[in-house]
């Protein structure tokens, strides 16, 4: 098994407010550990952000799509640390998506460790 640390970034997301944009999709034959997610407000006004994990993987129960954070406010000049002190494990095909109350006003930085 190989452990690979990676960062996934996306500037000025989402392209359309109200339509969560994919930041990361777990590749095949991979388990990922999310180490941190930073969401930076690049707008000139406060915005509200949401982060969803879309998962349909299962062992005995089928996972569902859930919010990690929903409509959290980020003031002008602020950055939100979504996963402070906690970790999220993702399985193959799981997706992390980001939405914002204003289109293209969030810079996202996702730190992960992929286990293959």
């Amino acid at each position: 098994m190989a452990n690979t640390f990676k960062i996934k970034t996306n500037d000025a997301m989402p392209s359309s407010s109200g339509t969560p944009l994919t930041l990361y999709t777990v590749p095949s034959s991979t388990t990922s550990v999310v180490l941190g997610l930073l969401l930076c407000n690049i707008h000139t006004a406060e915005v509200n952000v949401s982060v969803k994990i879309e998962s349909d993987t299962s062992d005995t129960e089928t996972n569902q799509t859930v919010f990690v954070v929903k409509n959290a406010p980020i003031p002008v000049g602020g950055t939100l640390e979504v996963l402070t002190g906690s970790k999220v494990v993702l399985q193959t095909t799981d997706v992390v998506k980001v939405d914002c109350s204003v289109s293209a006003k969030i810079d996202a930085a996702l730190s992960i460790m992929e286990i293959t």
Partner: protein
């Protein structure tokens, strides 16, 4: 979850954030509710206690005159009707009913006049020797005021009656000359 750089400012509470009926009297300062916060028609009679209140005033004016030489009470013709708004109300009765005695021959005889005030058929005041007159005519106003406690919210009628209180042939007189006489009723709320 934490923030780097600026953090969101706290949101000011709005009325929608406070559940109905959740603010107790203890949370209100003694001076919190000013007169301006009370709508003109918001204070009901039930909330106004601890001081005298005039609930209503009724007045009736008549020009009836009457006389009798008997000792059985007869109506003077002065009456007024009121319907108390509360059974705990008192009624202040203010009658103006001149009564007199007629001794027409100046013979030195006497006449005694009695009077009473009725609430419907109940006597609320009686003076069985209101006036003692000797020679000629004497007139005086009847009772000036009576405070009654009717204990009802039904319509009640107050009326004045008079008669001679001693036996004789001359008349006891009510409102000689048929001038205006008035009965005023005031409901005094508890």
């Amino acid at each position: 979850m934490g923030y780097i750089g600026r953090t969101p400012t706290g949101s000011i509470l709005t009325g929608a954030d406070i559940a109905d009926g959740s603010i107790s009297t203890a949370k209100l300062a003694d001076t919190a509710v000013s007169t301006a916060k009370i709508a003109d028609d918001a204070v009901t009679i039930a909330k106004a206690t601890g001081f005298g209140k005039i609930g209503q005033v009724v007045s009736n004016t008549v020009t009836t005159n009457n006389s009798t030489s008997g000792t059985t009470y007869t109506d003077t013709g002065l009456s007024a009707t009121i319907t108390p708004t509360s059974s705990s109300s008192k009624i202040l009765v203010l009658p103006f009913n001149p009564l007199g005695g007629d001794i027409d021959n100046d013979s030195g005889g006497t006449i005694e006049v009695k009077q009473k005030l009725l609430r419907d058929s109940t006597t609320v005041y009686e003076d069985d020797r209101f006036l003692v007159a000797r020679g000629g005519q004497h007139h005086s106003n009847a009772f000036s005021h009576v405070l009654d406690t009717p204990n009802t919210t039904s319509a009640i009628t107050y009326k004045c009656q008079f008669a001679r209180s001693d036996a004789g042939s001359t008349d006891a007189i009510s409102n000689q000359g048929g001038r205006e006489m008035t009965m005023t009723l005031m409901e005094i709320l508890a």
